[in-house]
Amino acid sequence: MTPNPAKRDLGNVLVIGGCGFLGHHIVNLLLSYKCKVSVLDVRTTRNRRPDSDGVSYYDGDITCLSSLIPIFEKIKPAVVIHTASPTLAGGSRELYKKVNVDGTQCVIEASQKTNVKALVYTSSASVISDTVADLVNADERWPVIPPAAQTEYYSQTKAEAEAFVISANRSSSKLLTCALRPAGIFGEGDVQMIPQMMKVYKDGKNNFQLGDNTNLFDFTYVQNVAHAHCLASFALLQTHAISTPVLDHEKIDGEVFFITNCEPVYFWDFARAVWRCQGNEKGTEGVWVISRDVGNVLGTVMDWGMWMIGKKSKLTRREVRYSCMTRYYDCSKAKRRLGYEPIVSLPEGIRRAVKWFEDEQAKEGEKKGQ
């Protein structure tokens, strides 16, 4: 498999957003490499490593270039891994634009000005999804959805930021860049996918199925995504060290890569595997199957009905679309060029994630009990 990471020297690594969901997993994994890890985040109080691990934490705002430069100058990173972004749900348009687009431009500029060698950007597999059309075994040849056709503003800002990162490759400095597009990240500390699915089971609403469940979907365990970031960082540094040009089919700088678990599954099977981990003993008997069309009508009615009484609908058209959509990718480019292979299988990833959330809830319960 992959060579021993302890022998791979990454030098000074700065993880921007290193206290976030994906970011802190990257930090964890980097600790097994030969490198000095620093973290820059808006809030460095959560997901912190113990001091004994020697990770330096810096509070900072990536949308403010003048505050970034001194931090970059102090750390002198060889590698910058930029993974900071508001989550898909809950951010405002302004926030997405400010952090994803403006923030990323600041990071690029700071990297160029402080002679950073490699910048790895966490993009999103959603940049090629218009949230309606299916994506069947899509790879890097698929077009990025133009702003006019993109209905998800988050994805639009990720695509814009990705384009800035890629165009910065070998442009005004020796900075090499690449972007990773993970699909459907889940795992310990996840704030969207797993908690939502677990809540559905807790609320006893797991006896519905939207669509016919023949749609394959990519869910990617967070440590695999973190692993890909480490591989990409190392690969860019290697490219930086050699003077001869790299062959086109081996190129890593200036490239984008889809990252998945390489195990697409039928959408509801993933949810059912989560519920099973939570202790669900039931099979699919007694499950109501709501077809895509009926679901759309229901979703529309619920959307408007709840909007009129000033609440947020629990069944939205967006949810109906997502759960009926085929959306899986072919990540063989990452396998070929980065040597990427998932290190944790999907079932193991689900088991770990559900256990983590249950442990967290138990801890909270204890706190309340005291």
Binding site: P264, A273, R276
Partner: protein, 480 residues
């Protein structure tokens, strides 16, 4: 099935009948053997082929003439070997040297074997084995070498198993042992056939560099048969399901057949199905390397039958009670679809994969693994026959993009236009109203209307004229 039973069955399953008729009427073999040109011994060989094989004899006889005889003889030789191995009336002492030296027997003209038990179903083949040897000696040397090599490997493998007391008493232990057994009885066949195909220039020589692909072909068929035949094998005193798998679900192998343990038994069979299903992608990949239509049919038909059988046995309690088979109609349908091209075979695989997925039960410990295995087969098929074209998507976005730009400009223009139009229309309406009202009010004024009175009444709140102002005389004029 009796004729009456068949008639009854088909009268309620017209689709099945349709498939059978279609196969019988429309199937057009790529090649047909010509018995008129065959020697007496070769005819005899084909006679035994028909006797010993139900499923393979027809596909073999439609093979490309280059490989027709070598493959038929290869089959008969392995069948002969199998008939010695299977026969429990032959002592181990006698059996072992026969198995280990069968490749040399192939070079002994006139060799026959009459010591099989009377109940051994294929004993006739060995009694008349000299005809096989005669024809074998006439083959091209290259083919003889390949066949002898596989015979040697398989004979030695069988002898090892015959010697293995543990295997004979308690059955297969680990998954590794299970796969080794399948390698000896099926993987080697895949190897030999592939070498024959490549030697005969009917398959891509690159297949020789991918042993895992031809191994998968054999493993997939053998494992699927082992799952299906569990009851029959148990009745014959044989156990091929590895202990490593069944011990996860039940304590004793026999417990699988106890009705109260049905759920555990089904979970166990699911794990067996999963183990077999994982060869699906490699089998499809292998078939992509076949160049000749008759060879393609020869390899694809058994594979399609296997994926359909796998779907049939999946989550099916009947496997623990009796031997089950896919229906004749389904078999004909599958033969029809598999004797076309890789695409139609991929469609079969996708169809049955989705049926397996539909039967997959979240209660099953291997639920997610099975879902992943199904997904992998679908993804693999998509990788060879993509349903989306990135170039077309690029064009779509470009045209949509330019269309939207042009359209939105047009829209803006037309919106502007319509806005001014509306304004003019409103002005015209209001103007007309004003003119007409003015004229009418003016005429009324000229005619002596008292607008001041009307206004005072309106101010008082009397919107409806009262009787006193009525111009209609209220008095009764009756007196007049």
């Amino acid at each position: 099935m009796g004729l009456l039973k068949q008639l009854l069955y088909f009268s309620v399953h017209p689709n099945q009948l349709r498939s059978v008729i279609q196969w019988k009427v429309w199937h057009d073999p790529v090649h047909q053997r010509n018995p008129a040109k065959e020697s007496a011994t070769l005819k005899e060989c084909f006679h035994y082929l028909n006797l010993t094989s139900r499923s393979f004899s027809s596909v073999i006889q439609e093979l490309n003439p280059e490989l027709l005889v070598p493959v038929a003889l290869f089959y008969l030789i392995l069948r002969g070997l199998d008939t010695i191995e299977d026969d429990m009336t032959i002592s181990l002492k006698k059996k072992e040297p026969l198995l280990r030296n069968f490749q040399h027997i192939l070079e002994q003209p006139g060799w026959t074997f009459t010591e099989n038990g009377p109940n051994e179903k294929d004993r006739d083949l060995l009694v008349h084995f000299d005809c096989v040897i005669t024809e074998f000696m006439l083959l091209k040397k290259e083919y003889r070498v390949i066949i002898a090599d596989i015979t040697e490997k398989m004979g030695n493998g069988m002898a090892d198993y015959a010697n293995n007391a543990e295997f004979n008493e308690v059955g297969v232990d680990t998954i590794k042992d299970y796969e080794l057994y399948c390698h000896y009885v099926a993987g080697l066949v895949g190897e030999g056939l592939t070498k024959l195909f490549v030697e005969g220039q009917l398959a891509n020589p690159a297949l020789m560099k991918r042993p895992e692909l031809y191994e998968a072909m054999g493993q997939f068929l053998q494992k699927t048969n082992i799952i299906r035949d569990i009851k029959e094998d148990l009745d014959d005193g044989r156990r091929f399901w590895p202990k490593e798998i069944w011990s996860k679900h039940v304590d004793k192998f026999e417990d699988l057949f106890v009705p109260q343990n049905l759920e555990k038994a089904l979970n166990c069979s699911s794990e067996m199905v999963l183990n077999s299903l994982r060869h699906g992608e490699e089998c499809l990949f292998y078939m992509a390397g076949i160049k000749d239509q008759s060879v393609f049919n020869f390899v694809a038909i058994p594979q399609s039958m296997a994926i359909a059988t796998l779907e049939l046995v999946f989550q099916n309690p009947a496997v623990f009670k009796r031997n089950i088979k896919i229906t004749k109609g389904d078999a004909c349908q599958l033969m029809m679809e598999s004797s076309q091209n890789l695409r139609t075979v991929c469609e079969i695989f996708k169809r049955y994969t989705r049926r397996i997925h539909a039967k997959n039960n979240p209660k099953d410990p291997n639920f997610l693994q099975i879902s992943i295995a199904c997904g992998k087969i679908e993804q693999f098929i998509e990788s060879i026959y993509p349903s989306q074209d990135p170039k077309a998507l690029h064009l779509l976005h470009k045209s949509a993009d330019s269309a939207t730009v042009a359209e939105s400009e047009k829209n803006k223009l037309s919106q502007k236009e319509s806005a001014t139009d509306t304004l003019y229309l409103l002005l015209a309406v209001v103007g007309t109203l004003l003119v007409i009202s003015g004229l009418m009010i003016g005429a009324a004024y000229l005619a002596g209307a008292n607008f001041d009175l009307a206004f005072t009444e309106l101010r008082k709140g009397n919107f409806i004229p009262k009787g006193t102002y009525s111009t209609i005389p209220q008095q009764d004029h009756g007196e007049l």
